[in-house]
């Protein structure tokens, strides 16, 4: 470990980048990309199995790889990247040294060990339990242990973030209030703390149950608390993603929020209401009364949705104001048509916003209604919904940001800038087709987590409306395009990080 106080000054933003922070951002972000690579290969294999025309894998492998896809994408890729983002938001944006870098490395190692244990268990077939691992379906105890280790590591990472905020405040490295991006990341970190607490509350007894110390675990209770982790963690993603939209807006067009009060209040709404809203997973469960369901899932959810509606106006508005100040004032849309569509950050931000809002968000509100949940629960339409939010939204925003982190933080010039620019377009088209295909097939009843929608081996003969197969094919084609986009992302970022030209200390160039 080199000197914890060693830093350089960024020639573009004037921010201090501490060496210890830079190393930790590097290792967490690179690890995230490794996991999106694993998850992406799984995505290709399972999409080609769901597609009846190809039907690639045998059933056992399909369910195993589906479990691996969910965990590597939804947990390992996103959380490693978020930890990198938290360190960036607290240390770089506030010009502060990182609190306790050694502890941050310890957190990283815990997360890595946890992720590796989980992957070993899943790939050896000892934990084919899906992302949700509903009891009483039992996995190997090491699987639950891996999840717990990972969650503890992530929790420590959040602690480092809060510690760095305290250090920055005490050492007066910034004046006045936190920058909006750091404020948004703080909201994400607060949500992360109670989310991970739900994870501990449910996974510790599940681990004890798997080794035989606890005899019975109620499945309905498991679902209730698990979704406090499972859905709230998606809310960390939303909050981090919105923060990154603000960040990309600043990096690409110099956007400044029009009203800080409005934007910050919206983040507070996320903190207050999103955990209760996680109960919408239980709308068709036998355990809770309708009154309970309506209040928790829906009323609270709408207040969180309101926050997203506010950001959905504030971010394009900030970009428009910034563009108009630059002189793009002709007509209603010159600010948009003259936006930097030829660099990756802007299209990544706009497509992420559109796919998140119009595909993920709207379907989320619809399926989160008690009555309509009956029509969509556990169908493939749900899978379409969260591919709109977490993949088209969060992942695309993270991808866009990566192209700026590489030159700004890692000081390497991008290799394949044209590929990087095309990547958000390809990925957005793929995910849009995928989500529409899943939504269409799911609305007609196609189940999620299903090996064979032609029901060739079924005990009672059954076949779907042919439109289901058509939509499934559309989803498969979308998946192929999205996987191509994902491969370009992994290729460009890995090549650039390891082989990109090292930039001179005073080189003030982003792309």
């Amino acid at each position: 470990m080199s000197n914890e106080l060693e830093f350089r000054t960024c020639p573009i933003t004037g921010k201090k980048v501490f060496k210890a922070t830079q190393n930790l951002i590097w290792i967490n972000a690179v690890t995230a990309v490794v996991f999106i690579l694993i998850g992406g290969i799984m995505a290709f294999l399972i999409a080609m199995t769901r597609w009846p025309a190809v039907h690639l894998l045998p059933a056992e492998m399909f369910y195993r790889f589906l479990t691996a896809h969910g965990l590597n994408m939804l947990i390992f890729w996103i959380v490693f990247f978020e930890i990198a983002g938290l360190y960036f938001g607290a240390s770089v944006l506030l010009n502060s040294r990182l609190a306790a870098p050694r502890v941050a490395w310890f957190a990283y190692i815990l997360m890595l060990v946890g992720a590796i244990l989980v992957n070993i268990m899943v790939f050896t077939g000892k934990a084919t339990v899906m992302f949700s691992s509903y009891v009483p379906l039992k996995a190997d105890p090491i699987y639950y242990l891996g999840i717990i280790l990972f969650a503890v590591g992530a929790l420590i990472g959040c602690g480092i973030f809060f510690g760095t905020l305290a250090v920055a405040k005490a050492e007066k490295t910034y004046e006045g209030s936190l920058p909006l991006v750091t404020f948004g990341l703080s909201a994400a970190a607060i949500i992360a703390v109670y989310t991970l607490a739900c994870g501990a509350i449910i996974y510790i007894p599940t681990f004890l149950w798997s080794i035989g110390i606890i005899e019975n675990l109620d499945g309905a209770m498991y679902r209730l608390i698990f979704w406090g982790l499972g859905h709230s963690s998606q809310q960390i993603n939303v909050t981090a993603m919105v923060s990154i939209w603000y960040l990309l807006g600043a990096l690409t067009v110099g956007a400044t929020p029009v009203n800080e009060k409005v934007c910050r209040t919206a983040f507070v709404l996320y903190i207050l209401f999103i955990n209760l809203a996680a109960e919408h997973h239980l709308l068709t469960d036998p355990t809770l009364s309708p009154a309970h369901k309506i209040v928790n899932t829906s009323y609270m959810m709408y207040l969180a949705v309101l926050a997203s509606m506010i950001h959905a106006l504030a971010i394009p508005m900030a970009a428009e104001v910034a563009q108009r100040k630059k002189g793009f004032t002709k007509g209603m849309f010159e600010w948009l048509s003259k936006a930097p569509w030829g660099e990756p950050g802007f299209p990544a931000m706009i497509f992420s916003l559109i796919i998140f809002g119009f595909i993920g968000g709207i379907t989320g509100v619809v399926y989160g209604t008690e009555q309509l949940s009956i029509k969509s629960h556990n169908t493939w339409a749900l899978t379409g919904h969260f591919h709109g939010t977490v993949v088209g939204g969060t992942t695309l925003a993270f991808m866009g940001l990566t192209y700026y982190v590489i030159p700004l933080i890692f000081r390497r010039e991008l290799i394949g800038k044209k590929w990087a620019t095309a990547q958000p377009y390809i990925f957005a088209i793929g995910i849009t087709l995928l989500a529409i295909g899943m939504g269409g097939a799911g609305t007609l009843g196609s189940p999620r987590r299903h090996w064979d929608v032609t029901f060739a081996d079924a005990i009672i003969p059954f076949s779907f409306d042919p439109a289901v197969i058509l939509f499934t094919t559309l989803a498969a084609i979308g998946a192929l395009i999205a996987v191509t986009g994902g491969a370009i992302y992994v290729g460009v970022s890995v090549l650039s990080v390891f082989f990109g030209r090292k930039m001179a200390p005073n080189e003030a160039k982003i792309l």
Partner: protein, 174 residues
């Protein structure tokens, strides 16, 4: 910019455009909020669930007794059961079938008790696409009145092991 600290006094009134947008959003949230309880009153397809727990062994015993009492035949190795009108109907999810096959009458009300004796399952009634989570140890009670005749299938849409995709049940409405 959003990556630097804002000016000292940033707690300012929102712009007109923002106020208009936020008002529209709040109004829409209110519409959604009213619709859901309202549909419990005016809707004709709303499940007002009665939460109830049941031990899996007990559930197996009652559903076996139900099958024995009203059994009228067998299909693909699964009993076919024709319960009387307005009676309790037990539909058991287990790895990997829905037992029994039910013969129901159009326009008659049945009180369904759906539960599982092993893992979680997903009740998905095709082709009308109605889905419920089936949790072992809990009785998913649904008052169902078939409104059209025909053959309906039940898929499983919660992963329940290697045979999950073969798990199909049947309801015949006459």
């Amino acid at each position: 910019m959003s990556i630097t600290s804002p000016e000292k006094y940033w707690w300012k009134p929102a712009d007109l455009q923002e106020k208009v947008w936020i008002t529209i959003a709040i109004l829409w949230c209110l519409v959604l909020s009213v619709m859901m309880p309202l549909w419990h009153i005016i809707g004709t397809q709303n499940p007002s669930l009665e939460p109830m727990k049941i031990r899996t062994d007990d559930y197996r015993a009652v559903s076996d007794a139900f099958i024995e009492k009203y059994k009228v035949g067998e299909e693909s190795g699964i009993p076919v059961v024709e319960p009387p009108a307005n009676s309790d109907v037990y539909l058991r999810a287990q790895m990997w079938n829905w037992t029994p096959i039910l013969k129901l009458k159009k326009g008659v009300n049945y009180k369904f008790h759906i539960s599982s004796t092993d893992l979680m399952h997903g009740f998905s009634l095709m082709p009308i696409v109605m889905n419920f989570q089936i949790v072992p140890g809990h009785d998913n009670i649904l008052n169902i009145t078939p409104t059209e005749a025909g053959t309906f299938h039940i898929l499983c849409n919660e992963f329940c092991g290697i045979g999950h995709h073969t798990m199909i049940g049947k309801i015949i409405v006459i």
